[in-house]
């Protein structure tokens, strides 16, 4: 790779969404040579065929140990690889491990050139985790709403409440018992199931 060319980056990640987020970020930052590998079978052979300068892998991936083989001096290894971080980069390791990503560089790419790539990976991985948390919260909020609607229906039918009255009862019970409305609604569903 010559000095002015964009380094070839391989993303090893079984999550297509996270890989897409990372790939998009790297392209926006001007890194054009990005390839995503999602299939772990024959990983090393694919990496050798692509001959990348940088490999990025998520820490949930057991195949991270496969990459460690590339540190070895052996016939199978064509280009030596090094962990991006060296002794002086403890903070970088910490940030990347906490974000859940690890980067490897092949054949002495300059540190100044790799740093922005790693920083970008860290921020995109963190953004993905945040997105996932939000998605989880939205999912559980949606679940709660369904449960609350069904509990309201039961109260309306059994007690002759209006929808408004049913909701007020759920909310006041939740406040009194210091629980979430969803939990109270769930216990109504469970009770009505048992008493059926």
């Amino acid at each position: 790779m010559s000095a002015d060319q964009s380094p070839k980056i391989v993303i090893v990640d079984e999550s297509p969404i996270r890989a897409a987020i990372l790939e998009e970020g790297l392209r926006e930052a001007g890194f054009d040579g990005v390839v995503h590998i999602s299939e772990m079978q024959g990983l090393l052979a694919r990496i050798y065929a692509l001959d990348p300068d940088v490999i990025v892998i998520d820490l949930e991936n057991p195949s991270r140990d496969v990459l460690e083989q590339m540190f070895q001096v052996s016939r199978a290894v064509r280009r030596p690889i090094a962990m991006f971080v060296d002794q002086s980069d403890a903070a970088s390791i910490q940030a990347s491990v906490e974000a859940g990503v690890s980067a490897y560089i092949v054949d002495g790419l300059k540190k100044e050139r790799i740093k922005p790539i790693l920083d970008l990976c860290i921020s995109r991985f963190n953004a993905f985790s945040k997105l996932q948390d939000e998605l989880e919260r939205a999912k559980s909020a949606l679940e709660d709403r369904k449960v609350i609607d069904r509990a309201k229906g039961i109260l309306m039918k059994m007690k002759g409440f209006t929808e408004e009255e049913a909701y007020v009862l759920l909310r006041s019970t939740a406040m009194r018992e210091k629980k979430k409305i969803g939990e109270i609604a769930q216990s109504i569903l469970t009770a009505s199931e048992i008493l059926k």
């Binding site: 991936n61 057991p62 195949s63 991270r64 001096v73 052996s74 199978a76 002794q87 491990v97």
Partner: protein, 386 residues
């Protein structure tokens, strides 16, 4: 006595002492609040221990040494005051390779020299026929699995770097890769060999203990700096693990049930119990083979770190070109295995290591930590890179 401890582990049977110490309340009885964190790769365990996300870890013994020497990665000195497991690996091959080996064997199929020579014949025939070289998988470059496979095949004249392909594969992928023909054999810890046999995809060719009688496999690993600052916590943790090791040898069925839980190892208790008892199904036809040495946890001084074991592992790193031989590095490697800390906390070990020279390799001269250069010169394959 201390804040909460986070300890990383890989779901393998040789994490038993750690898992039982926590799940059976032995760490709590020592005043420790321990959370076990299940991990997916040795690289993760190593990195999270190194940067302090873990206070301690279930770690491959050679990784503790490589990390202390800074081979292949960042240098972080590690202290190993307790062996979680000795032995416990096995070499499993596909039914096709097994049949080929048995067709070429002269002598006892349980004798690793006989199988290694048979492998050499199979490898030579494949080369004559222009076939692809055989592929063997192991778990990590710095692993007993790697060194056991290499030691075995080299004894029969097979050069592991020239005559076969040796690849790293995460243990959960081993059985599928054997079934699909991507690999012809592997060396891995329990329970994966038994799973391959149960599913009809593999034959256990050797127990690791056929290759080496007594091999430090996994250690309780701590950052040296942390261990020095927290001697009371270290002592409590070592006592809890020692109690667990004793419990495991006396209560294998209960241990198997604890380990089988989905958040621990997550495979059938019956398979785990087989490996704890060293009574393994070695062929899909149901043939059983027993060895009291298969996996040692609380017997034969298994838990006591032995610096000679560290020296042997270091010698293999040198033999296979992972690092050059140096007296300084040897001294550091040996000082990772802290027999002194173990004995200060627990007193003398129970039982006795009955392997000859403490290692019990099936081939080569007795191992002498004081003359690694001389020892390595006695092997034809694998060199002394000076």
């Amino acid at each position: 006595m201390t804040g909460a401890l986070r300890i990383g582990f890989i779901p393998l049977v040789d994490a038993a002492a750690l898992i039982v110490a926590v799940d059976n309340g032995f760490t709590a009885a020592e005043g420790l609040d321990v959370t076990l964190v299940r991990e997916v790769s040795w690289s993760n365990v190593r990195d999270k221990l190194n940067i302090g996300l873990f206070d301690a870890a279930h770690l491959l013994a050679p990784v503790a040494i490589a990390s202390s020497l800074g081979i292949g990665h960042v240098k972080v000195p590690i202290t190993a005051p307790f062996n979680l497991g000795v032995n416990g690996n096995a070499i499993t091959v596909s039914p096709a390779l097994h049949a080929e080996l048995m067709a070429n064997i002269e002598g006892d199929p349980f004798d690793p020299m006989a199988t290694a020579l048979a492998l050499a014949r199979v490898v030579a025939k494949r080369r004559r026929d222009g076939a692809e070289p055989l592929t063997f998988a192991m778990t990590f470059p710095f692993s007993t699995h790697n060194y056991q496979l290499r030691f075995w095949m080299a004894a029969g004249g097979v050069d592991p770097d020239e005559d076969v392909r040796l690849v790293v594969l995460p243990p959960p992928y081993m059985v599928d890769s054997l079934a699909s023909g991507h690999v012809d054999g592997f060396c891995v810890g329990a329970p994966w060999n038994s799973i391959a046999v149960d599913q009809g995809h593999g034959h256990i060719l050797h127990f690791g203990s056929d290759i080496l009688g007594h091999a430090a496999e996994k250690v309780l690993a701590l950052r040296q700096s942390w261990a020095e600052k927290n001697p009371d916590v270290v002592a409590a943790l070592v006592r809890a693990c020692a109690r667990a090791a004793e419990f495991i040898e006396a209560n294998r069925d209960e241990t198997a049930a604890v380990l089988a839980r989905p958040e621990r190892i997550g495979v059938a208790a019956e398979i785990i119990q087989r490996t704890l008892e060293g009574r393994l199904k070695i062929s899909p036809d149901g043939t059983l083979r027993e060895s009291a040495r298969y996996l040692l946890v609380g017997r034969e001084e298994a838990a006591r770190p032995d610096p000679a074991q560290a020296a042997w592992l270091y010698s293999q790193m040198v033999r296979w070109g992972q690092t050059p031989l140096s007296a300084d590095a040897l001294r550091i490697a040996m000082s990772v295995f802290r027999r002194d800390i173990y004995e200060t906390i627990l007193g003398p070990a129970t039982g006795e290591n009955t392997a000859k020279d403490g290692i019990g390799a099936f081939a080569g001269p007795p191992f002498d930590p004081a003359d690694i250069a001389g020892h390595l010169r006695s092997f034809i394959i694998g060199g002394l890179k000076v």
